[in-house]
């Protein structure tokens, strides 16, 4: 899903619009967590790395979304100590989160296909 969303959004010509990035924050976080548990800083790092300059997340903005996902029961968390001794809050995808991600992915695909059909633009 992460690759699909990013491939759809990635463009070397222009940075992706802020509104589009904002609307996809939750689904991007869930996609990263599907790969395995992770903490805020690492989630941002992974997404920015995949985005490859197409957009850059403002790091702090990920936390309100993470906390919202936690309240919705789509992710759960646990504190874990790193080798440096620093404690980090790891987020883990719940079964409900997995279902939400699948539903969101389907919606993204439908939306993407509809845009392609309507615009008649097809990228390789």
């Amino acid at each position: 899903m992460l690759a699909l969303a990013l491939d759809a959004m990635k463009s070397k010509e222009k940075p992706i619009k802020k509104e589009l990035v904002g609307a996809s924050t939750a689904v991007l976080i869930l996609s990263v967590l599907k790969r395995g548990s992770s903490y805020g800083y690492d989630i941002v790092r992974q997404v920015n790395e995949e985005a490859d300059g197409a957009f850059t997340w403002q790091e702090g903005t990920v936390y309100p979304v993470l906390h919202k996902l936690e309240r919705q029961g789509l992710v759960r968390c646990r504190w874990q100590e790193a080798f440096t001794g620093r404690k980090r809050k790891y987020y883990i995808l719940t079964p409900a989160g997995r279902e939400a991600l699948e539903a969101d992915t389907r919606q993204w695909e439908l939306f993407h296909q509809m845009i392609i059909r309507l615009s008649g633009v097809q990228h390789a």
């Binding site: 903490y39 805020g40 800083y41 790092r45 790091e59 440096t84 404690k87 980090r88 809050k89």
Partner: protein, 201 residues
Amino acid sequence: MPDLPGDSSVRKIRSLCQELAESYRLDNETRDELCAHLEDKLTGYLSGEVRITEEDALQLVRVHFGNAEQIARRLGRDRSFFRWGLDHNRVYILLLIAIAIIPAVNLPYVLRMAFSPDTPGIRKEHLPNVVLRWDIPLGICYLTAAIAMLWFRRFRPAAARRFTRILNYLLLFAPPLGTLLGIYGLLKVDKQIGYAVQGVS
């Protein structure tokens, strides 16, 4: 193992997070989570794992420069108005607009007198011939020149220099104000380096 931030930096980060937590009533868990994020980021910078972006570098430049607004204000205060502050190009344009506006304001009245001799209370004979002969064309010329000058200065700064020079020579033949402005223009306008390229806006 990556370079870890020093105790002093960690203390600063924690104090910042504590302030945020107090200001926005964040719980301790959220505060610790934000702290861990900032410490991770700092570690990333120190170890070279995170490359500094252009935006980050720009922020650093700003921070190291100091309060730019305050510095600019201090620099501005140190400038003497008469030594550096008098902008001849601006003064010239203002004067040109002023001498264009005065006849322009009178123009409708003069035209009415010239072309409506039957208007009650106004007779064409009251108007000296010199007014009709000079005031109307001169007013129109000044107004056109002022508008053209503003347009050139705004959109064609390079051509504005040539236009100003020609206008100054023409103004010499429009005494008394035009002559004075022409002399002033020839002596003072467009003398600053690069002014013609920048324009006055």
